[in-house]
């Protein structure tokens, strides 16, 4: 005990922390046969080393930061402020219903238009019936024209020379998913000419040959020329926007390259059909022909349509039918490659100011088209067959299950 007390006193003198449990140390050292002086030496050295570590003098203490002076004024507050600024404020997203979200974006939600009224299955039974409750009747072209003539009769609307037009509804899907056909334009020369009430179309012709120039002017071109006209456009005397169409001979292509920027979209192109060697038929096409432009629904991107005039009601039905044939086959040429589904989905005949529109069988005028209604019924029968097959399959499966 006496030795222990002595040790404790010495430790007090060395200012050793009181938490140190001296007893086990001393016992250990005694048992090892270490002299007291040696022990004291070791302990003192330990104390010194510990204090050194505290002061950060030894190489092992580099990770610990110890300061014996006050931090700079306002440093911590600044740090806090920067941390606050760096913190992103989490904004709670409130749930907005779909129709309100669309209304905020000024987008009108409409139900998808149904081209085929397959949900009305029954054909009419009675001789007096409401069109609303049954499948839309498909009239032949003859009947549809006759009905338009009735409404435009002198005793009713008194417009027997009204223009008869067709609405051709299109499937704008491309072979790739979520890709749709862009709007297209074109001109058709109808086999039986349709004379419009409004002014003649303005056609500008570029050709070198003087014979071609005179021929073009005879055919109804507004202006025909070569380098002189190009200079006029360059100086700004003429603007291309005043003309409906620009037609050019192939010889003029090199010279036209100088005003490519001014012509913009109306620059002649073989694909568009306004570039060629025979100028006179080209001019005739663009002067007499009918322009058409496809329209697209804003939200229903796979739905498009073209309104093309066919003729006048006072023309003969045979002539009108031939015009319709050419129009439908012309529109069919815009079909994208690699699409299996039919491009033209429905064709309607209308004649303003009457608001009536009659569906006609377009598949009779196009190659490779079939009556969609008969197709539907075939599909239904096929489905039934497959269902029956499935049933038999399931039965077999059940039998096997029982056997196992």
């Amino acid at each position: 005990m006496a030795t222990l007390l002595r040790i404790s006193r010495i430790f007090q003198q060395l200012q050793v922390p009181t938490q140190w449990n001296i007893l086990p140390f001393s016992c250990y050292f005694h048992s090892q046969g270490v002299t007291f002086s040696e022990l004291m030496y070791r302990k003192s050295m330990q104390c010194i080393s510990l204090s050194c570590i505290d002061k950060g003098l030894l190489p092992g203490s580099q990770n610990q930061q110890v300061r014996y002076y006050a931090a700079r004024r306002g440093k911590r507050e600044k740090m806090k402020a920067t941390k606050k600024s760096q913190k992103k404020e989490v904004v709670k997203k409130e749930f907005v219903p779909y129709h309100i979200k669309m209304a905020m974006k000024n987008i009108v939600i409409k139900p998808r238009r149904e081209n085929v009224d397959h949900w009305l299955k029954t054909p009419p039974i009675d001789d007096v019936w409401r069109a609303k409750f049954y499948k839309k009747k498909i009239y032949s072209v003859m009947e549809a024209i006759e009905m338009h003539r009735e409404t435009h009769h002198p005793t009713i609307l008194n417009e027997p020379e009204a223009i008869l037009s067709s609405t051709i509804e299109l499937d704008m899907r491309m072979p790739k998913k979520n890709r749709y056909l862009d709007n297209f334009t074109g001109t058709i020369k109808l086999p039986y000419e349709l004379k419009m009430d409004n002014n003649k179309k303005k056609v500008l012709v570029f050709c070198k040959d003087s014979e071609d120039q005179t021929g073009a002017l005879k055919a109804g071109a507004f202006m025909a020329g070569s380098s002189g006209v190009i200079k006029q456009i360059q100086t700004g005397e003429l603007t291309v926007q005043d003309f409906d169409h620009v037609v050019a001979h192939i010889d003029m292509l090199a010279e036209l390259g100088t005003i490519r920027g001014l012509l913009k979209k109306s620059f002649p192109n073989r694909n568009k059909g306004n570039l060629g060697t025979d100028i006179v038929p080209l001019v005739e096409l663009f002067v007499q022909g009918v322009d058409y432009k496809s329209n697209k629904d804003e939200h229903e991107l796979d739905f498009g349509w073209v309104d093309v005039p066919i003729g006048r009601l006072n023309m003969e039905t045979n002539e009108l039918q031939q015009n319709l044939f050419t129009v439908l086959n012309q529109v069919e040429t815009h079909k994208p490659k690699g699409v299996a589904a039919p491009f033209i989905t429905r064709v309607l005949l209308f004649s303003e100011p009457s608001q009536e529109k009659f569906v006609i069988p377009h598949w009779e005028y196009l190659e490779g088209y079939k009556d969609p209604n008969t197709l539907k019924s075939e599909e239904v029968t096929l489905e039934q067959q497959t269902e029956e097959d499935d049933d038999t399959d399931t039965d077999e499966v059940e039998h096997t299950r029982v056997a196992s």
Binding site: V128, M147, T155, I156, L157, E356
Partner: protein, 255 residues
Amino acid sequence: MLRTFVNTCMLPSKIRSCPIYQQIRNTFVLNRRYPIIFSKKGGRPKRFKQKHYVYDLVENTECRKQGNIKLILTQFVEGLGDRGEVVSVKPLYGRQQLLLPGLAVYASPENLEFGGKKSEKPTYSSHFASKTIGYLSTRLVSVSMNRENPWTLEPWHIRVAFRKVGIIVPEEAIELPIQPISGPDMDKEDKEFAVFITINKTERVPVRCKIHHWSPNYLERNDVGEYWKPSEPILPEQATLLSEMPRFDKSKDST
């Protein structure tokens, strides 16, 4: 649980003391996920392991789509059929709308023997006829005629006017008033007359029409105004007929 509880409550007090459990008959078709190994012929049957009790649900037979049910109508039902006609309808509609009010009975062999024959005198020519009669009798059809060229009303004028509204009528079914109506006459503007239409050559319905003068010139056109309001008849003979005819009431309209 609820079913048994209700059953016990409904029963008289003597039987209520003993519990009655109503049996629910449903089957679940299951498929064993791990196939079992067969025991040898005459050998000891092999014990099932834990995994042999793992099943996959193939079908719940209660969720199976039910087919149509066959019923015999006891009286004329609008849009469906006449008395004694056998019809196949969706089960829920059949039970709630036909069996419950007593408009039909099940097409059991006994019922078919008893009343499965069509009535000799049909109430209407077809089961849609009553609906079209109700529609036509309350409707007002505008017959727009030219303001400049002379005309007298013909059946095809009426046919065109009906087609514009969405009613398809053959020319034979239209019956004009005996006294001819001709124009253009601005005194007849916005005035009524009645036309008779026969559905399937049996039901004769009077339909209210109005004359409207149409001009291609926009400035010369008449303002239609409140066209639905009652006005004077063109022909004095038809005054009583027009006054007796019902008028369109939006509150009663179901179409």
